[in-house]
Symmetry: C2
Subunit: 413 residues, 2 copies
């Protein structure tokens, strides 16, 4: 039996219990896990310190070290995250579709857990706990594969989770952690169709592409966001400026941040200088030739339009009209979040109808694409694919359904 | 540019138009296609005759020849199928989820087409037209790869479809047919993530597994049905017999047919002889050792329980109770359709809650798992996977959604 098969068999056995567990038992388990993390705080921070030292020794960048780092405040945030999930409504065994056929059969479409979710993720150790809590609340088992740079932190966190579960009505087997950094195990995981129902990669483009190219298990592609803000001819320029500043500068390294500004040619002479003055101290602008006629910035290359900078850089392009803006977005975008600022009803409708993205904004910042902001309470990521779930992946998006059919001896004619 | 890239670019261009086409235009296009198939009837039947002759020359089985065969009656059925789809409600640009956040943003979750659907299918040429109509009505482009044994029939049908479209408001590029039987083109199709949003294999286990093992495009696994009927201790045995006969004998070669009968040990001496007498002339029974104590049938092997016979064979197993029945089903089943016949409310609930399948019946035949029977009007197949769609795949299941967010200058704090 392979390593993944061994874990898989434990998960399948645990699934039977978890898939029908009561909300009360799931919430008790989550609270016990929160308490166990609290109780093991010292040990978790010590393990994290070892990862950080190993990272420094191998010349890890300051940004990555920061992502890897846990401290008391971040651990408080992780524990608070669990308690947020406890308060969310249980998404399982609900229906808003029940109907009765002419022959008297009543069909109910009931939500059920997916089964087991696999997460392949990069350095942030908080994902270990966040993903576990969302999976457990939605009745799903979880198998976690973190990065080798966070192996000690993740191991300590998983120990705390298992300790919490062992004091609860839910089996500690519902969570499995791949504690071996052999990369072949990731491949085994991606192909474990008998044991895993959905794989979610959380990380950069390289990781996502590796998962898509190699998985036979269904995958949910999340988090790549090359987002645009288009300022239309009729835009209220004060609103446009406020929205652009928020979308680009409120937080740089996240997927719903604006990476390219598109400006209608009729207002370029008014809007570009306003935008430039407002953000030039914080953000490097790279413009198309027509942008350079108005403001003195670096010239943008074709590559700039494809780039998800996740950094203090903004590409700028002047476009002829809303159609050119839509065409640009549908070519270069990642189907994540796109915004138009306009007073034209026709253009707002056209933009929302024709732009192919999970979340399409009129007169608001793309930064709102987030499970918390949308009212989902928490999220497992933002899906940029069209199948299964699109946009913020909250508890509801981690479910499937089954049809219950109640008969009185009906047969098909 | 590869063959698939060329087709892909045509599809992407056509998607822009089709994704926002009105219901009226889509229905006109479908009616024109129905008329074109009618007008080209002779030509289609002639092409089909060539496929049949080639099949016979290469010793194709009688069953496969039958599946391949078109005649006037079957063509009538195909044309009627298109008119059924015309009458179905358009699933696109609808919402039953609109909400407003505290900050005044209104979010609407609107249904949209997936984009382009790829179908890889075996010999039945009617799939060419059925899949096209469902895709078009749901606003999706389609790329079709039929079997080489039906290449002439499919080519003639696609010509008729394109002719119909050319007299309609919808571009004929919305349908692309792979008219080259090179198997490598299937692989290219399964990996064309830039052009295809969902691949649906329609055929036997071998085809489905080939697609799952090789696709990087998201797939929808359909049609494998190793279905069970469990007769519980408290069952009304007259109902049980009627349901078993229907589930096993009404149609043999389809995915929602019963393949294994499970019988509670307390009623085996009553029910097994009844069942045996009722179906023994039509169906070969293969029983577990305890079955053989009651009726004289062939002994079942472990392989029998794994088999989707699609044939006049039924495996029979005596079980201790509902828990053993559930465990057997969850081990050997394909998550398609499962039934319990019982008068026990407790066991009915337990069976529906714990059996992991798309459709779980109490006191009715598994043969009802079908888009038409469920009231979906038509179907693209029965999904046996948990992600995206489960159970009958009708028009609604061929959609995704986007969030429209309407603001008045909101930014994130």
């Amino acid at each position: 039996m392979t390593y993944i098969e061994e874990k898989g068999k434990l998960l399948k056995a645990a699934e039977k219990q978890l898939s029908i567990a009561s909300t009360k038992d799931k919430n008790i388990a989550l609270e016990k896990v929160a308490q166990a993390i609290e109780a093991r705080r010292e040990e978790i921070l010590r393990a994290n310190q070892e990862d950080i030292e190993a990272g420094k020794a191998s010349d890890m960048s300051a940004a990555l070290i920061d992502r890897l780092t846990l401290n008391n405040e971040r651990l408080d945030g992780i524990i608070e995250g669990i308690r947020t999930v406890i308060k969310l409504p249980d998404p399982i065994w609900k229906s808003n579709k029940v109907w009765t056929l002419e022959n008297g059969l009543t069909i109910s479409q009931m939500t059920t857990p997916l089964g087991t979710i696999g997460i392949v993720y990069e350095s942030r150790p908080n994902v270990t706990v966040d993903a576990f809590s969302l999976a457990l609340k939605s009745g799903n088992c979880i198998i976690l594969r973190g990065s080798s740079s966070a192996i000690k932190s993740n191991t300590a966190l998983v120990q705390a989770i298992k300790e919490g579960l062992s004091n609860s009505p839910i089996s500690e087997d519902v969570v499995q952690f791949i504690d071996d950094t052999d990369r072949d195990l990731v491949l085994d995981m991606l192909r474990a169709n008998d044991y895993i129902d959905l794989i979610i990669p959380r990380g950069g483009r390289g990781l996502i592409q590796f998962v898509i190219q190699n998985a036979t298990v269904p995958t949910l592609q999340t988090g790549e966001g090359n987002c645009h803000t288009f300022i239309d001819e009729s835009a209220n320029l004060e609103d446009a400026l406020k929205i652009l500043i928020n979308a680009k500068t409120q937080r740089l390294g996240v997927c719903n941040t604006c990476e390219t500004l598109l400006v209608h040619e009729a207002i370029k002479d008014d809007f570009l200088p306003m935008a430039y003055e407002a953000i030039k101290d914080k953000i490097e602008l790279r413009g198309c030739p027509r942008t350079l006629e108005v403001i003195q910035v670096k010239e943008a290359t074709e590559e700039d339009y494809w780039e998800e900078y996740l950094d203090a850089i903004l590409a700028v392009k002047v476009v002829k009209d809303v159609d050119e803006a839509i065409a640009h977005i549908n070519k270069y975008g990642t189907k994540h979040s796109e915004a138009i600022v306009t007073e034209s009803l026709t253009n707002a409708n056209k933009f929302q109808r024709q732009v192919d993205a999970s979340s399409v904004y009129v007169n608001a910042s793309t930064r709102f694409t987030d499970g918390g902001e949308f009212g989902f309470g928490a999220e497992m990521g933002i899906s940029t694919q069209k199948t299964h779930a699109r946009g913020p992946v909250g508890l509801e998006q981690l479910t499937t359904y089954k049809y219950l059919i109640m008969g009185q001896g009906q047969v098909r004619e």
